[in-house]
Symmetry: C2
Subunit: 347 residues, 2 copies
């Protein structure tokens, strides 16, 4: 009997405000019987679980995950049983699934969720890439930069949360593929150093030394005296304001995240001057990764994999070990303890 | 000696706040010697002067027209002398020029300003069209709707200042060419009636009966229970707020004007919720008419003229007679006394 023990992360209570804590979650044990799956189902053994900022919204009372339900997020894993024509045992898979080390994936979920095949693209030992550069963060950076911001050679881009999973890739693609001038904002000297030495940023701004929007604006002005053409928005608050004010004629803002606001019960909105947008032909556009991650738009998996293999894009990961460490990994996104992609390796 | 008497409108003092008054302007008399023009110059006899909301910004201290300088705006007229290869005597011209009944246009100005040939497109008796449907307002409606908003058949659009020079055309193109559901906002029952009987709007909202954004939102919800796909923004304030909140997944806002704010010393800005823009793939984009009016983008003059001649687009004009009536015409834009395009006919 091929029955495997499994562990699944559940949300114990919704968290509307503040940093989520271990007591808000619990891990339940169960078992998965590989021989009991029905037509269309597969069993996935997780190799890596993702910790992403967007999950903060899903665990609020208003979010998609209710108290008592299992946590759902991006998983990179291996198919260990299959009654589905599209998936073979041994396939490497990236997908939005339940956070469990072993799970049966129903045919309904497989049809509805984002799932992409990583077989032939990565080795099993590289599974973490499937939740990073070759998963949601990678496709977010790819689609947001290429199709939303539409960079032109020589233009200037400002990226916030620039050392994070998405920002570190945005800056590198902008530099390596589009030859842009790249300015990044990150928290603390270590991350700022990494921006310049590892990710090829031309300028690094340590936002933790800035007390308000005016100071951030001054730092941005020093890095880009003639203003910026593009802003990749991950943060919100003073970052949005400073970037909007620095935006040149024809400037555009890709709105991807607002991490500075995620722990607030009611996130702050931002202010824009419509007259400036008119006279300067400026655009602000919100987006999520789905069109690029699903392959409906662009050529994400192939392009990113190629750029990575050619050495154009450096991968930076922060590892946490074991499914029990997921809450700690998730917290690191908000405390700034992370660099690059936060990965929970599952054994 | 072909010397003609001329009258020119000058700005006497900059107006930072409130409704501009006759005493802020003066008309000076002069003369133009047709035989004295040099190579590259032309002489234009104005047939119609435009009164447009954007001019309000140009006469502030921060604007492009300084106290003591002649007013500059859109003029439709006839070339009555020419030493320029591109223009013949008798040509009909639309251009951004000095507000004068007769003027010499220098080669420098002709090279720098927006100017388009209306010969063969309209008759001299139709000159007002050159500052309306076949001029700045027409190209603003055309470019803003077609290229910025990118309507799809069956989608819903909300237009503010919907009975104005730009709004009345936006609604008609959306209805007649793209088969959209069209909702307009205008001030008072007469204009709202016109929206439905002349411009083909499906729903008309009388914003003067609304006390705040909540009431406008409720009216918009009644007209479009499932929300709107597009908003053509001419007004600002509560109109922007209500439209932003009603915006559906994939929604976009073309920002063209903010007339509710033009008489304020410091115009109000607007608030947006970036998270809504992310999860709903929404876009806000500012623009002006230049790329379409100049022909750099699209096929404005040909398309609009064809749609008008086919009877798809009705033209609505409010006439004022004589250059001396320009201030009164300009005031009508802000007091709501105008319908459609405000035209000052010059004899």
């Amino acid at each position: 009997m091929a029955t495997l023990a499994s562990k699944t992360i559940y949300l114990k209570e919704n968290v509307d405000e503040g940093l989520p804590q271990p007591e808000h979650f619990e891990i339940r044990s169960g078992e998965v019987d590989l021989s009991s799956i029905v037509d269309g189902e597969i069993v996935v053994k997780a190799l890596a679980l993702s910790a992403d900022p967007y999950l903060r919204g899903t665990i609020k009372s208003t979010g998609s995950t209710k108290a008592g339900a299992p946590m759902v997020g991006f998983v990179s894993g291996k198919v260990i049983a299959s009654k589905n024509d599209k998936w073979e045992v041994g396939d490497l898979i990236g997908a939005s699934l339940v956070f469990a080390d072993v799970q049966v994936v129903s045919v309904q979920l497989l049809g509805a969720t984002l799932a992409w095949k990583l077989t032939g693209v990565i080795e099993e030992s590289e599974a973490s890439l499937g939740i990073g550069i070759l998963g949601m963060p990678g496709s977010t950076a790819y689609g947001g930069l290429i199709d939303v911001l539409q960079p032109k050679e020589g233009q200037t881009i400002f990226v916030s949360a620039a050392s994070g999973a998405v920002g570190s890739l945005v800056g590198q693609i902008a530099k390596q593929v589009y030859n842009c001038t790249v300015i990044g904002s990150a928290g603390g000297p270590m991350k700022c150093d990494l921006l310049k030495t590892k990710f090829g940023y031309d300028h690094a701004i340590d936002y933790k030394t800035m007390n308000n929007e005016e100071e951030l604006s001054a730092a941005l002005k020093e890095a880009a005296p003639d203003g910026i053409d593009m802003y990749f928005e991950n943060v919100g608050g003073m970052h949005f304001g400073a970037a909007f004010n620095a935006l040149r004629v024809g400037g555009r803002i890709a709105v991807c995240g607002q991490i500075s606001e995620y722990n607030a019960r009611i996130p702050n909105t931002v202010n824009i001057n419509p007259m400036k947008m008119i006279y300067s032909f400026q655009r602000i556009e919100g987006f999520m990764c789905a069109p690029w991650l699903s392959g409906a738009k662009g050529n994400f998996l192939e392009d990113m994999n190629q750029w990575m293999r050619e050495g154009k894009l450096a991968v930076q990961e922060t590892f946490f070990e074991g499914i029990d460490s997921w809450v700690e990994a998730f917290q690191s996104l908000f405390t700034g303890a992370n660099v690059g992609k936060v990965v929970v390796r599952v054994n």
